[in-house]
Symmetry: C2
């Protein structure tokens, strides 16, 4: 099977500038759903998982909404290809280790369905920048389409049932991926993250565990899915994100004023190393890209497109590199190809 994904190009939602893209990389909405006539995933035998996937695929293929979409059975893919899907957020780490799992996704990879994840169905949509509405509308449309065709596990008191209590009720989770170098470098991030937690939101470092070394990317999402409507969860996330955006922009201003030449130096060196290194690991690449992103935003790195930097967040990851080269690579080889990839990406940029 030829993978209907170009490992040399990032997902469309990552390549496009969305609202407030200086701070918000992407927004996502997802619903967890289970079919009432199958056991939950962890009790479901392999043959039934397969049957479930086939059933979902064949129903989805009949729908107008999925015209032109791609249908993948993950068991038919190589390890690198499965990894690539996870790097593009079309699959979760759990999904790619399940051979009977499946992925269905739209052109541009905006909207997708994971089959046989922790729940039978994870319906998600991602939009560029700060645009939860768009993601929410697409995910909701998909959920309604499937709701019309399947009997979802539902309880009149608890709402939608889920394999894990954290997804009970709406099964809805909205999230945004933020780039917060200002708050991190101004050492205001911990205070902000604490405040966010108190507002019923979860924060985690993205592309790693949230330490500065991994690159200032954070994902914010609603902590619980129960007790109010999906729209209300969405609205409260939006309110908090708006405040974080304001705080982050303020922190960047202060940073430029206070750190001045030190910051410019750090950013300049990041750019120089990315452009001229001959081997680089994922961790360092993310860190340097993140500093460059701040530099581009502040006008310190001319002629570099911020969205191309964002695209590298996918393209430099192991699965992408391996699919690009067309073979499994050792860590050493990946470090080499990663540096080559960044160098090429920056080759149009000035010295």
């Amino acid at each position: 099977m030829v993978l209907p994904v170009d490992s040399q190009r990032p997902s469309s939602w990552l390549s496009k500038e969305g609202p407030e893209y200086d701070v918000v990389i992407s927004s996502r909405a997802r619903f967890a759903r289970n079919l009432s006539n199958y056991p939950f995933y962890d009790k479901n035998p392999d043959d039934k998982k397969k049957k479930l996937r086939n059933e979902i695929f064949s129903v989805l293929k009949e729908e107008e909404i999925t015209a032109g979409w791609n249908f993948l059975s993950l068991g038919e893919l190589s390890t690198s290809e499965r990894q690539l899907l996870a790097e593009r957020r079309l699959a979760s780490d759990e999904l790619i280790s399940e051979l009977e799992s499946g992925v269905v996704f739209s052109e541009g990879e905006y909207t997708s369905v994971m089959v046989n994840e922790e729940d039978h169905l994870r319906l998600q949509s991602i939009s560029s920048g700060f645009d939860i509405d768009r993601a929410y509308d697409a995910a909701t449309k998909l959920e309604r389409t499937l709701n019309d065709r399947f009997q979802f596990a539902y309880d009149s008191r608890w709402g939608y049932l889920s394999a894990c209590p954290t997804n009970l009720g709406t099964g809805f989770r909205a999230s945004v991926l933020l780039h917060l170098p200002g708050l991190v470098l101004q050492q205001k991030i911990n205070k902000i993250l604490k405040a966010i937690s108190n507002l019923g939101l979860t924060v985690r470092g993205f592309y790693g565990e949230g330490s500065e070394t991994k690159g200032f990317y954070f994902q914010l999402s609603n902590q619980v899915t129960l007790g109010q409507s999906a729209e209300k969860f969405k609205a409260s996330l939006e309110r908090v994100v708006k405040q974080v955006i304001t705080q982050e922009r303020k922190a960047r201003e202060e940073l430029i004023n206070s750190a001045g030449i030190e910051l410019e130096d750090r950013i300049g060196r990041s750019y120089g190393i990315l452009k001229h290194a001959r081997k680089i690991n994922t961790r360092e690449a993310l860190q340097l890209l993140s500093l460059c992103r701040l530099g581009v935003d502040r006008g310190l790195v001319p002629h570099v497109d911020i969205k191309r930097l964002d695209g590298l967040l996918q393209l430099l990851q192991p699965g992408h590199l391996q699919c690009s080269v067309g073979e499994e690579l050792s860590e050493k080889q990946r470090d080499f190809y990663r540096a080559e990839k960044v160098g090429k990406e920056f080759s149009g940029a000035p010295p």
Copy 2:
């Protein structure tokens, strides 16, 4: 007084490619001489130092050999200007702290005289690359000219007398400045340096104390000046240097074969940082320039001129930066102007 030295341009001997310039930056020959009718420097009162300098200057000005040369009384110069002279090897650190000292030098700064150093006269000539003969010939010619005009302190048994016993006899010291990244990175340098010491030569790290961090530059010179002729000292230094050149080239070959991508990466990063840093201290700059020099030699850094890198060894030093900007600078400011200087120097080079 306007300093007859352009702080934006390195000395001519440093800018030109001499023989074996891949390994040898420059060769130097110098004679220590004292006038018999003055006390040695450390017993000489200030007024007599001044008289001595005036006498030397006026005699030298009459000679054909010094047509177009520059005459400087160091007491008339600013701290930065004196420092600049030391960085260009026209003055020693001792000389620039002596207010009654003087420097006389030829166009291109090949041949020069220090007056009121540890000895009354230090006559030296520097040539590009591995060319002790040329330096020796020029220094000898200068010595003979002065020998005809002055009565030098001389003892029939000991030869030329000197303020320090290490210069007794010929008063002659030949030296070469070597770039030995291959031997350092292949960890063969200590063995080589030990062997060199056993051959009656002195080695010291140049531009610092010889550790790798300072940049792989070493100066070789004859240890004693007594017991044989200057020409014999010169010849034995030449023999050793030839061997070191062979060893260094061999080490570079081995290094490329064994370290491959690691080395290319280190060199690439050095280039990237030099080109894009916004502040950089002398130590780091030297280290990175040194790696780049190896890269240029091995064809890994295209379109960069090895002699322009060598020129930066002078131009990035504190005195040069201060004279360039036209004022005393704090360390922080120097780091900034140093980065700016390298950036400009590399701006013609490709990304």
